[in-house]
């Protein structure tokens, strides 16, 4: 693949951010959540909706799966725009809105781009049923009765086999995620309080080796995140701009049965056949190159650890630990509250939970809130200036990275 133009890391910034939340006492559907977040973002950016040229969303929310949901939302806001589209490569598409918005700004197609994602799975559909039916191959996987954890567990099995990682290691990951989640008012697992490795190991298997505490939960009820992207020149007049310093994306497959049968790749995935390195490695390299930065330059990170083992694999693919050694980083304590490399400060996908596809927007919201110093939960203790926000989607399939900074290139 052709490398991205590094100049793209100097063209755009996020000048407005809005978030919205729902729960069983405050039921809101995706249109309501996205409206609330978008209006908060317009106000934060000091613009009106009439200044939006392009609207981007990720794929349609599970809680409202009408096709062209992006256009439904543009219509709902009575906001004619030049162009609107969904970035439909699973959860990675949500994170990738930021880079695609930067491209729209760089090309001159837009002065202002609204990127927004909402979902509310817990409030509107049976999440257990919809999950594997969407993400398992309907011909060669789904008829065998897997759940989404079953598909992800294939990687957990290989990761343990190849690198000697244990279930107790996976338990330690869950313990540390919960240390952040208990401080976030919207985190789905906040109510459970702090946990121990024994608590995790006593929780039942969902799909071995994954126990309940090693898996993301559904919830909170609903969330939305909205982001206004414009040029760095316009951002100079904004009150709290967050600069888009780098971005990268990669998708390697749709179904796991395709991925395991992949024998050559233009992006590095280890010695194929193998599944313990993902396209996140390529997406991260692209972003670092654009930003002219290294993993060590990141003050914090938001990853997409929907399970203990994917959290570890992602840390490695994003360059924060050598392959197979992310547990060393976990054990160092650097990612815990008070550590010098805070990761998933809202509790992440495991602790904060998955309200649906908007979970990837929640990671961006958390990253921007921490960079601006106004998190809803625990504040990162190291005054972060630069962050890596990553999202994954599909069955280890789709990957998107963005490097955000309070400092202009």
């Amino acid at each position: 693949m052709k490398p991205l133009d590094r100049a793209l890391g100097r063209v755009a910034a996020i000048v407005g951010m809005g978030d919205a939340y729902a729960d069983r006492e405050h039921v809101k559907d995706p249109l309501q959540l996205a409206s609330e977040a978008s209006w908060a973002a317009f106000r934060d950016a000091g613009i009106t909706k009439d200044q939006i040229d392009v609207l981007l969303t990720g794929r349609a929310p599970w809680a409202d799966r009408r096709p062209q949901w992006n256009n439904i939302f543009a219509s709902h806001l009575q906001m004619p725009v030049r162009m609107t589209t969904e970035l439909t490569f699973h959860g990675a598409g949500v994170n990738a809105m930021i880079g695609q918005a930067a491209l729209a700004v760089a090309s001159g197609a837009a002065d202002y781009v609204l990127c927004v994602q909402a979902d509310a799975v817990e409030l509107f559909i049976d999440a257990t049923a919809v999950g594997a039916a969407t993400d398992a191959c309907p011909q060669f996987e789904f008829p065998y009765g897997p759940t989404i954890p079953t598909i992800y567990a294939q990687l957990a099995c290989r990761y343990m086999h190849e690198f000697g990682v244990t279930e107790e290691d996976f338990a330690e990951v869950a313990v540390q995620r919960q240390e952040w989640a208990v401080h976030h008012p919207k985190a789905a697992k906040r109510k459970h309080g702090l946990i121990t490795v024994d608590d995790v190991m006593r929780s039942p298997y969902i799909s071995s080796p994954l126990r309940r505490w090693m898996c993301a939960t559904w919830g909170p009820g609903g969330t939305a995140g909205a982001f206004i992207v414009t040029s760095v020149e316009r951002a100079a007049r904004a009150k709290n701009p967050i600069y888009i310093r780098g971005f990268g994306t990669c998708t390697t497959h749709e179904y796991l049965c395709e991925r395991i049968n992949l024998r050559k790749s233009t992006v590095p995935l280890g010695n194929l056949p193998a599944i313990t390195t993902t396209g996140a490695a390529h997406a991260a390299r692209e972003a670092y190159a654009m930003a002219d930065m290294k993993p060590e330059d990141m003050d914090m990170a938001a990853v997409a650890g929907n399970f203990s083992h994917t959290f570890l694999v992602q840390l490695e693919d994003l360059g924060f630990a050598p392959k197979g050694r992310a547990m060393d980083l976990v054990r160092s304590g650097r990612m815990r509250p008070g550590g010098d490399f805070p990761v998933d400060t809202n509790g992440g996908w495991m602790g904060f939970g998955q309200p649906g596809i908007s979970v990837a927007a929640d990671s961006l919201v958390e990253t921007i809130r921490q960079l601006r110093g106004n998190p809803l939960g625990l504040k990162a203790g190291n005054d972060p200036k630069t962050a890596m926000a990553y999202s994954a989607g599909g069955m280890l399939a789709c990957h998107s990275t963005v490097i955000l900074s309070t400092e202009k290139a």
Partner: protein, 141 residues
């Protein structure tokens, strides 16, 4: 707003495979208790899932069907304790894994045997259990 009932079909019966045109010979083979896969006449690589053009080389060749011996080993596995829907509950716990066939391709499949006996690298052999939905599965040797 979506309702629970939208997924009623999934709740009430074992799912049928969504058969593609490329895979019609595969499913015809399953009816006869044979496991078929494709091989590229140009690069000789084993191809799965089925395609109309080999994706593994640049020859653009039409793959040819072969019968697998149905022998292989466990590459990865997971024991499903919390099944996806009601119809699977009586069947649980069951093991789903990636099996590497001796012809050097992989299937996502069920592996029959005691959960505690499962391990990466163990040999497995093809079986076609009597089920509502006919599928190739494997059992520990």
């Amino acid at each position: 707003m979506l309702e629970q009932g939208e997924f009623a079909d999934y709740q009430e019966s074992f799912p049928q495979p969504r058969v593609t045109q490329d895979a019609l010979p595969y499913w015809e083979g399953v009816k006869q208790k044979k496991l078929l896969f494709q091989r590229c006449p140009a690069c000789h690589g084993a191809i799965f899932p089925p395609r109309s053009i080999c994706p593994m080389c640049d020859a653009g060749a039409a793959p040819q069907w072969e019968q697998s011996k149905g022998e292989g080993e466990i590459y990865s596995f997971s024991v499903v304790h919390r099944p996806p829907s009601a119809v699977w509950k009586a069947h649980a716990p069951y093991t789903i894994g990636l099996v590497r066939l001796d012809e050097d391709y992989f299937l996502f499949t069920e592996i029959e045997g005691k959960p505690e006996d499962m391990a990466v690298g163990k040999r497995v052999t093809l079986t076609f259990p009597e089920r509502d939905v006919p599928l190739p599965t494997f059992r520990l040797v």
